[in-house]
């Protein structure tokens, strides 16, 4: 459906480089990345608002790389919705059909159907300045969808919505877009949002696509150190493969040895980076049977800090290296995990991710 090959696009000093991705019909792809990673540049390049300096973009059977934005049939929902302030809601939604000289009756028919689906029938006569964030979003969505685009690009679509309402809208908007059979590219820096709505997720960093995969692949098994760091994972250790036997690989990272399942070919002496999500480091309770997957990677340490977020606790345990743990807040209270307490932690073996270290980053030191 949407095929991007070796895309290069320059925006000022910044440029997208060698970007490749395929998007199936009616697929919902979310591109995540930190601020300045090129998400909006990518969206603008696909929409035709920025000129691609290399590569190709195909939409269905058409090559659209150098087509004018008005000829691409790709709609865009910008970050702040950018509703035309000189037009009311009806005028905004009908802008596209009128520009394309769609017969008035047909345009009105489309408007009625979309207003019904999006629940904005009562807003049609209102000025855009009177709309709430959620209402403006729906109006902007109606304006984009009324021209029957082959794909829609959503640029941080929930950033102008109140946090309390955001989560409900994630699912509502996804459901509406699924109902209307639209292919979607959605960019955001919010990982929860990406997890909630994306059929597939791409991680864009410094203008390059770092990882592209299903929600589980990207969230549970980052494929590069940069993708892992973007997810906020601090348990990243660089080291060297010291042993390979019986389907397990041992990586020595300074004072820490980690035994992981062998998922691809490694050789002894190879530099490697080990990554463990904080959710996958478990507290081992004394006197309780030890889970098999924790057996190979146990460390004793001392709790040095704890931070509480809404529904989870983030804790740092100092052992031969520092480990970051994350668990539901009630665990903290149940086991009285105060600062200074000595505990034993174990790493879930199946959750350990190893990726080859970059040549310039090879070394035997833990880096968290």
């Amino acid at each position: 459906m949407l095929e991007v090959r070796n895309l290069y696009c320059r925006a000022g000093e910044f440029s997208l480089r060698d970007l490749n991705l395929d998007l199936g019909a009616r697929e919902y792809l979310v591109l995540v990345g930190p601020t300045g990673s090129g998400k909006t540049t990518f969206i603008k390049c696909i929409a035709g608002l920025l000129r691609a300096s290399g590569g190709t973009i195909r939409l269905g059977s058409r090559e659209i790389t150098h087509l004018d934005p008005s000829q691409r049939n790709i709609a865009l929902l910008p970050q702040d919705y950018s509703l035309f302030p000189h037009l009311d809601v009806r005028g905004n939604i009908l802008f596209g059909p009128l520009a394309r000289r769609t017969p008035r009756e047909e345009a009105e028919g489309r408007l009625r159907r979309l207003a019904e689906v999006l629940g904005i029938r009562d807003l049609l006569g209102r000025g855009t300045a009177t709309l709430s964030g959620g209402e403006a979003q729906r109006v902007a969505l109606a304006r984009a969808l009324i021209v029957h685009p082959e794909a829609i690009l959503l640029d941080e679509p929930f950033s102008a919505v109140d946090p309390g309402m955001r989560m409900r809208l994630w699912f509502e908007i996804k459901e509406i877009l699924r109902l209307l059979n639209v292919t979607v590219v959605h960019v955001t820096h919010n990982l929860d949002e990406a997890s909630a709505v994306g059929d597939r997720i791409g991680v864009l960093i410094d203008g390059g696509l770092e990882q592209l995969g299903t929600r589980e692949e990207v969230m549970l098994r980052p494929s590069t150190e940069r993708a892992a760091r973007y997810q906020g994972i601090r348990n990243i250790y660089r080291g060297e493969v010291v042993r390979i036997e019986r389907g397990k690989v041992t990586v020595r990272c300074g004072p820490l040895s980690i035994v992981a399942l062998q998922e691809s070919r490694y050789r002894v002496g190879q530099h490697a980076t080990v990554c463990v999500r904080p959710q996958d480091i478990k507290i081992i309770k004394e006197g309780q049977p030890l889970r098999e997957e924790l057996r190979d990677n146990q460390c004793e340490g001392e709790i040095v800090s704890s931070y509480f977020c809404n529904d989870f606790c983030s804790m740092t345990v100092r052992s031969c290296v520092d480990f970051e743990l994350r668990f539901p807040s009630y665990i903290y209270r149940r086991h009285n995990l105060c600062t200074g307490k000595k505990i034993t932690v174990g790493i879930r073996q199946s959750a350990i991710v190893i990726f080859p270290a970059l040549p310039d980053r090879a070394g035997g030191q833990p880096i968290n």
Partner: protein
Amino acid sequence: MKNKLFTLTFAAVLGLLVLFLVILIYSLFAQLHSPGALKGIPRSEVLFALRLTLVTATAASLLALAVALPTAYVLARYRFPLRDAVDTLLYLPVVLSPIALGALLLIFFNTLPGRLIDRALGGVVFEVGGIIAAQFIVIIGLAISLVKSTFEGVNPVYEGIARTLGATRLQTFTRVLLPMSRNGIVAAFLLTWARAVGEFGATVTLAGATPMKTETLPVAIFLSFASADISRACVFILISMGISLAVLFILRKLYARSAQPLL
């Protein structure tokens, strides 16, 4: 104590300036109130100067706006080689003395292409057409600058959205950018119009100062002083001041409705 002194000093400067302007206006009214001041001023002369000024200023401002809209759009939305040089050149009429501009026009109309244009337009030099040409050259830089600032104040995302919805560049310009710039464009028109109404230097150089022919309000003031007719000059000054205040009043109203400052 130091803060109070600072505030008092600055407020005193403001107060003195306002007082000075009030005294200026008062002296105008005092002159007009002197016995027999308004006697012997032909109404037809006043109406002629007023009508000529309004007609020529309106024509020159409309022409300037028609040229400024596409020019400002290109400067505000495109990057091209020598853009800064072009921008600077277009701003030249704003800073160059009006007499110099008028002289440049006069020299141009003495060249072969200038004479052809002069003939094609039915006479420009020392004619009413010359007033419009002089006012146009004086205000065009200001018009472009004001419209360009207005266009730059509109987020290009709106135009991008319109393009993705299927609008052509012309549709985007007429249905998105122009309506969104409406207040700024009206303000630009009013400011350039007010500037054209007060234009003297270039007008007198190109169109001359012929009574009842090329006698705009500023020219009438000049001719009145030249013939030592102070009261007649005061009438024209009063009319000019009324026009200026009306323009400023409308601009203030527009400013109140606009999110962005127009002045």
